[in-house]
Every structure is written in structure tokens, then in C-alpha cells.
Amino acid sequence: MSATVESAAKPALLVNGVPYEVVMGIECHVELKTETKMFCGCRNVFGAEPNTNVCPVCLGMPGALPVPNEKAIELVVKAGLAFGAEIPAFSKFDRKNYFYPDMPKDYQISQFDMPLTQGGVVPFWLGDGTHGSCRLTRIHLEEDTGKSTHASHDGRIAGSTYSLVDFNRAGVPLMECVSEPDIRSGAQAVAFLESLKRTFVALGISDVKMEEGSLRCDVNLSLRPIGRAEYGTKTEIKNMNSFNSVGRAIESEVARQVAVLEGGGRIVQETRGWDEANGGTHSMRNKEEAHDYRYFPDPDLTPIEFASADVTRMRAELGTLPAEILTRLISSDKLRPEQAHQMVDSPGLFAYFSDVVERCGKPQAVVNFVLGDLSRLANESSTPVPESNVTPEALAELVGLVEAKTINSKTAKELLTRLWAKGGSPNAIVAAEGLGQVSDTGAIDAIVAEVLAANEKTAADYRAGKTKVLGFLVGQVMKQSRGTANPTLAEERLRALLDVCG
């Protein structure tokens, strides 16, 4: 099964003239947002002085033992439930054995054959409005390693005369989300990652900050002729530090594999590192160097068992998920996918939007204000929209005034700037200052008469057939009315009076 993308309008990838497709699966490591580490009481915070949040347990001191963080287990279960995963009644921790200087015990506590969650589907929308999804294989929980800084020129351990290790990160709870090979393009890969991120942030599972390393992802990528069932030989790409570099690394690796195939070569199964500066990937290690991790159940930890009541409770605690909100915004409220994403991804914005729409209806009008003028003002002032002086109540009034044609869009824009600065009620301001849009025929006719009297030559031109001058006359009516005249009505009355008097 491939990703269910409801649009096929994709330029074909050609290898020696044969159409190919890219097949990708993604493994994401996500650091959990817990107070304390996975197996000890040390604080889980980013950016502390090196080796200050450490204890005998996370330093792997002789005799120290792990005690699992229940909160972390719950967060992973919730992550799975958010994507409809199955929660097995029984799970356990295993040891993954290999030597590395930043791994204090020289084994990592992880999960091998009984992960906390199994299956699930990650939905996403692409920029062109198409909807897709990617199946999850599993999500499991493990501990992070320390962070090494190697002294070599290329930052790798080989050739380093010394390395520095910070164990603050050692033992931080880390969940690994493994996808099925359902992803077919860089755009889908990025949309998949954004969907994960959006959900994890919304549920308080993780900060998902790639630049702080709280999300790290590896992409497994292979090519095959369209229609072939078997997968091609894959490479694993690592070291991308932003969603943008994930997209670029995929592009680069696809191009490299196409070049290899077109040159008659074969793809070698290997791990390749993305080099941000050069914009390319380089070989890190091949299949022959693969480890035998000698997984076995960790005898220091007892198996994890869930009662179905626990799972039911955790499912109930999820609340409305970002994917549900997106579906509503895109399908019911007819927002474009990027508008819907913006609405969901900016903290508090969707709640603000919902509040306004609840008061005045008119989601289209509200979204234009929220993502247009309000978001511009928010960027200029570094104040998020929901925290601004423009209360949902005020914006609802404003939308009401525009929809009722009491004020025109120009007035609305000016009013919004005033509300942003000082707050207040649009209804009250409009009433007090007479800013209401003039839609009264008698009043408009009076202004029209004045304008025609002052512009006799132009009126004559119009009557002589130069109808293009009508726009100028409308402008004069607007000017005369200080912008309050209803422009549609002004034009209509101008035509009528010009014809009558002609």
C-alpha cells in the first residue's frame, strides 16, 4: 500500500526514460517533555551547564538502577492514541548493547519486540490542497544518550584527539516513531513530519524543536520503477537539522540515486549523512558494519501492563486533535490548507478564531482578518493575536459591521489598527464617531448632486460616452463622504442621476 494521496498530478521521475517512484519511510526520535529523565530524578531541560543534571543512574555508575518514568510512558501511549494506534496490553523494555563513549552503560534501554504502541495512521495535507496519510509501524520508548563533541576537523570521532561528553541529555526520555514506507515525495515527508510535530506540540508530548535536537529524523529512501512491487536498495539519510533540510536532503539523495542508476551503477545499502553546507550526502557506514545489538529484556525493569481502563482514560484526555481541527477548517470552513495549518500551528490562534466565529459566524471573513491584518500587526508588534487588545468580541463586532455594510473595508482596516493599539468596542466607536457606512439613498444622492455640480465637465464627458470617468466620480463621492459612503450604492446613484439629468 502506498500513501493515499488524492491527487496524482506529479511530474514523473524518469530514469533512462523509465518512470520511477521514490519510496520512503521515516524514523523520528522525539524527546519527551517531562519534568525528569526517563529512569532517574534528574531534571529534563535543554541548555543547562554541561554535566549538571546528572546522577549515579544516568551516569551509569556501578550499581545504579533504572526506575521508569510513568509520565513518559503515558505520553508515548497518548502519542500513539492520537494516530489511532493499538496499545498492546503488555510491553517491556529491552537492552540494546553497543559501545559508545556517550552511552554511560554501553547499552541503551529501549524496546525491541514489544513497543508501547503498534500501527496507526498519520494524516497530512499538502500545499496543493491534497490530503495524504502514512501508516505508522510503531512508537517505542527509550533513553537518549549523552552528547559528544569531537575535536576532529569534521566533528566525527575518527581522527579526534579528544572528545567532550555532556551527560545532561543522557537518560532523557526519547520516543521513536517508525513509519511504513508510504511516503513518495519530499513534500509528503515534510507534511508527515509537520503533522507529527503539530500533534505532539498540541498534546504537550514534546517541544519538537529540531534545532535543539528534540526531534531528529532519519529517512530511508529507495527508488523503483512504477508498478514494481519489490523495493529498491535503500539508503538511510541522517543528520538533517530542520524540516527544510529534510526536503533538501531527499531531493539531493534522489538525484544521486538517479545518477547512479543512469550511469549503470547499483545503489549500495548504507547510512549517509546530510551535509548542510555542501547540500549533499556522504557515506557514513555500510551494511557490513551493522551492529548485532544483542537485544534482551532488561532484567532491571518489570514488564509494563495496561488495563483497558487506563487506555480509555488516556484516550479521553486527548481532547480535540489538530487533525480533526484541520479537517473541519478545510472541509467545513473552506480554508486553504496553508491557512488551516497557520491557524492550528500558531499557539492559541485557532481558539481565538473559533471564539470569534462562534460570536459572528462568517468564518471566511474572520479568517481574512485573523491571518491578514491581525497577523501582520502581530508580527510587527511581536504580540500574538490572542494576547492583543483586539478581543474576540471586538473582532466579531467588526466583522458584523462589515457584513452589515455599516462600515466599508477601508474603515474596518483603520479601525482594526486603532483597536490593536488601544482596544475598545467597534460598535461604540462607529456610533460615537459617525463612521458608519452611508447606505441611505437620500444621503448619497445629496453628495452625488454636490459632486456632479462641482465636476460639470466630467459629467458631460460621461454623458458623451466616456463612461470610464465614472470611477473618478465615485472616488470624489467617497472623498466627500470621508470614506463612509457605500461605494456600490454611490456608483449606482451616480449612474442614475447622470442618466436622469442628461
Binding site: G63, N97, V165, D300
Partner: protein
């Protein structure tokens, strides 16, 4: 007073008949006088002992009563004690100072025990004679030409030689019980999960258990009661509040059913040893116990099962000794060769042998055939015991097939592994099990009668009943007090 029991000492100190400081001084003097001959200690913590003794005396002056007030304590050197060297008798940890204290030790110190020092063991508790120590040689106080048993050889020798009143031991496959039998002291391994392993340097995590080594069963009950109970730092400790065992000690065995294991027939033993155990079983009966035959058909697979599971776990547990963060480091050209050189120089042969066996057993392609199978066998062994305990309250058998042997007598590793034939099945099943002195035999070619131990084992979490039974047997037989240690009390002319 140094030779009194823990119960007597604590009573006297709490009653201010003797000060803990005075007692600590005498105990340290005893060590200075005798340990050159015995070699029970790897490190003596005199300064720390005096500090603790002063604190205990101050508490007693304040009217407090401490259950182990002033009791001289020896600590097996695979248990962490803040600020003291903790070596596991391995070159790889030589000089490492523990930055924290193990839970079990802390509980004894909190109860007023005085830490005299750290005792010798087989390297990383892997061995049955203490000969695998890389840092020292411990002699059996009953015959210095013989081993004290192992791995808790230093702890049992310290108690047997009067260099400590109580000691901590750890038992993975018999490491408390076999040496206790060899040195005529009481050695008790509680149920797996009863005593915290936090701060015990792991050998095989699913089997390791800390327990007391004492002169009497009552002292073992006292120390066990203090050590037992859930520890938030050890996820494998059970969430059961143990009922104190000390008040449940009993004087007879009326109504007690003792299982005698069919497969452990005494006819396999040397006649002298056999006679001791026959008498021990008869003594149990005389005390009122019903002897019933029970079957443990899978117990014969104990050693094979154990020598897959324990090495598998140790291969992973001992990975952390890599020269990067603590302990020995032998620099190599790169990180890989530094690992190799450090571990090659730091570990002894037996430790390397077990790491290799365990690494092999866990390797891809062999895992199912070895590790998974061994786990299945372990389940079957535990099932056998469950069935056996349906018809008895405790099982009696030899703690070891022979008394302590001479140094270098078991050069072949497998012959050494067989020393734990009677103790390993209980370890695999996680059962509480102890060795209590049960008599003497003069080994062939030996100079002195050497002690033997009766192993008594109970169902899971039946420590209270088990200690009660052992106390009744000990009280009636008094083998531990039957004779003095020859070489120390009445030195025999140089051999």
C-alpha cells in the same frame, strides 16, 4: 564483647554498658591482629567506623535505641559506600571511590551498624572460592590452607574469624550460602525482590540478591528485617511489607513439613559428608518435623541454565567498565582500542570467560537456542519448586557437596561451577534460602574437621517461616558454637 552476637551487642550499647566507640576500637584492633592471616578485608575504614560509632553513642546518650547500635559490620566490596573504595575485587575498579551508598547498606548504617571495611570476593562475584579476586587472597579461618568459599568469601571469613559481627553478602547462584557453609556461619539469601539491589554492582540482575551473613539465625533475622522492603530506587523490589522475622523464631518444628529432594540423594556424597547430612535430617525429625520426599526433576538443568542466563546478563552489565568515565583506562590508538586494552587488562580470566559466553548466548542467530531456552528451563525449575512446596514448608539439602577445598583444587572452571549444584536451582526460582551450620567432617588429607552447612529453602516471600525453622534447628544443634576455630584461638604450629 567483640565475639558476642549482634543482638547482644545492640542491647549492651543501647543500655550504655559499652560504648560503640570502644567496641569499634576493639573490632578494628581484632582486624589488625588477625586479618594479616585471613585476608578478609580489601579495605578497612577505621576513620569512618569511628565517626559512625561516635554518632551512635551520641544517639544513645540522647535516649534513642537503635536495633544495630554499635554492631561491627563488614561490607562485601561489590556494594557502594560513599567515599570508600568499591572494587568488586577487580583491577578495572581498583581505586574507584563510590559516590553514593547502596540502599541495603544505608539501612544497616541507619540502624546503628559500624562499617569496619570492605571485604574480598571473587571478581564481580563470579566464583565459588574467592580465588578469582584480583586484589587479595582470603583464607578459610578453619584451615588457612583452604578457601573460604565464594563469592562472599571475605564477608564469611570476617564473621567466622571474629573480625566482624555481621556482614553483607550477595548471592547470585550460591555466593552467600556456599561460603557460609564453608566457614560455619549463617548465610541467608532472601527472596528475589525483597532487598534492594540499588548500589550493588550487578553481576546478573535477575538473580543477584543481598543478604546477611551472621553468627546466628536470630542475627540473620534481625539484619534481614532491617534490609528488607521496597526501595523506590530499585524497580524490581516488591511492593510487599515484610512481616518481621525476628519475633517468629521458634523452638521446635512440630507441624512443620520438610521436603527432602529425591534427586539430591545423599548416596552421591562422600561417606563422612553423607553421615553429617543424615544426622541433620534426623535432627529435624527429632524436633518434630515431618520429612516428606519431594521431586525436583528439572533441578539437574540448573547449572546449565544458570550458565546461560547469568553470563548473558553479565555481558551487558559489565559493558560499562570501558575506561571512559571511571576506573582503569589503558590508552589505545583510538576509542575502540582503548576499550579493548582497558578491558583486556582490567578483567580477570573468569570474568572474561563469562562475558564471552554471555555475548555468544545473546548473539543474533543463537539467542533463541540459548537465552530463550534457558529462560524456559528457568520457568520449569520454578514450577517444580511450586509443586514441591504444595507438600512441604521448606526444603532441606546440603549447601555444598563437600567442605571447603584447598587452594587451586578446582583449576577446571566446570568443577568450580559444580560447587553451586545445590544452590543454583533456588536462585533461578528466586526463593529464600539459607545455610546454617550442621556439623563437621575431616576431609581426606585434611588437618582439621571442616564445617558443613545445611541448606534450607522456602517458598517465595516465606522468609519469616524459613528463619523460624532454621532457628529451631540451630538452637537444638548449636554446631556453630560446638568448637573454636583452631588456627586463631589456639594456633597450631606452622604447617
Amino acid at each position: 564483647m567483640v565475639d558476642a552476637t549482634a543482638i547482644e551487642i545492640a542491647r549492651a550499647v543501647n543500655a550504655r554498658e559499652i560504648s560503640a566507640a570502644d567496641l569499634a576500637g576493639r573490632a578494628l584492633a581484632r582486624i589488625a591482629e588477625r586479618d594479616g592471616e585471613i585476608g578478609a578485608y580489601l579495605a578497612v575504614t577505621g576513620e569512618l567506623a569511628r565517626r559512625h560509632a561516635e554518632r551512635v553513642d551520641a544517639a544513645v546518650r540522647d535516649g534513642k535505641s537503635l536495633p544495630l547500635a554499635g554492631v561491627p559490620l563488614a561490607i562485601k566490596d561489590n556494594m557502594c559506600l560513599t567515599g570508600t573504595p568499591t572494587t568488586c575485587a577487580s583491577k578495572i575498579l581498583d581505586g574507584w571511590i563510590a559516590p553514593y551508598t547502596s540502599t541495603a547498606v544505608q539501612r544497616l548504617l541507619d540502624a546503628g551498624a559500624i562499617p569496619l571495611g570492605k571485604t574480598n570476593l571473587d571478581e564481580f562475584a563470579m566464583g565459588s572460592s574467592c580465588e578469582n579476586s584480583a586484589l587479595g587472597k582470603t583464607a578459610n579461618p578453619w584451615d588457612r590452607g583452604r578457601v573460604p568459599g565464594g563469592s562472599s568469601g571475605g564477608s564469611v571469613a570476617a564473621v567466622a574469624a571474629g573480625e566482624a559481627t555481621v556482614a553483607t553478602g550477595s548471592d547470585t547462584g550460591g555466593s552467600i550460602r556456599e561460603p557460609a557453609a564453608f566457614c560455619n556461619v549463617v548465610g541467608f539469601k532472601p527472596t528475589y525482590g525483597r532487598v534492594s539491589r540499588y548500589g550493588l554492582i550487578a553481576f546478573a540482575s535477575s538473580l543477584d540478591q543481598i543478604g546477611p551473613i551472621t553468627k546466628t539465625v536470630a542475627d540473620a533475622a534481625l539484619v534481614y528485617d532491617l534490609m528488607a522492603g521496597r526501595d523506590p530506587m530499585d524497580a524490581t523490589t516488591v511492593d510487599l511489607v515484610p512481616e518481621p522475622a525476628l519475633p517468629a523464631l521458634r523452638a521446635d518444628l512440630r507441624g512443620v513439613r520438610i521436603g527432602i529432594v529425591k534427586e539430591f540423594g545423599l548416596e552421591k556424597l562422600d561417606p563422612g559428608v553423607r553421615a553429617v547430612y543424615e544426622r541433620a535430617y534426623a535432627d529435624l525429625q527429632k524436633l518434630g518435623a515431618d520429612l516428606v520426599e519431594v521431586a525436583l526433576p528439572t533441578a539437574d538443568y540448573g547449572i546449565a541454565t544458570y550458565y546461560l542466563i547469568a553470563p548473558a546478563e553479565c555481558s551487558s552489565n559489565l559493558a560499562r567498565f570501558d575506561g571512559m568515565r571511571y576506573g582503569l583506562r589503558v590508552e589505545g590508538a583510538d576509542v575502540g582500542s582503548t576499550y579493548e586494552r582497558t578491558r583486556a587488562a582490567g578483567f580477570g580470566d573468569e570474568v572474561k570467560r563469562r562475558i564471552l559466553i554471555g555475548t555468544y548466548a545473546l548473539s543474533s542467530g543463537y539467542y533463541d537456542a540459548y537465552y530463550v531456552r534457558a529462560q524456559k528451563a528457568r520457568t520449569l525449575i520454578a514450577d517444580d519448586f511450586r509443586r514441591a512446596f504444595a507438600s512441604c514448608d521448606a526444603i532441606a539439602c546440603p549447601a555444598a557437596a563437600s567442605p571447603a577445598f584447598e587452594f587451586n583444587a578446582k583449576a577446571d572452571p566446570v568443577s568450580m561451577y559444580l560447587m553451586d549444584y545445590y544452590t543454583i536451582p533456588m536462585s533461578l526460582a528466586g526463593l529464600p534460602s539459607l545455610s546454617v551450620p550442621c556439623g563437621y567432617v575431616i576431609p581426606e588429607g585434611g588437618r582439621y574437621p571442616m564445617p558443613l552447612g545445611l541448606e534450607l529453602s522456602g517458598p517465595l516471600f516465606a522468609e519469616r517461616s524459613l528463619l523460624g525453622i532454621a532457628h529451631a534447628y540451630e538452637r537444638a544443634t548449636l554446631h556453630a558454637q560446638a568448637r573454636a576455630i583452631p588456627e586463631i584461638v589456639a594456633p597450631v604450629g606452622a604447617a
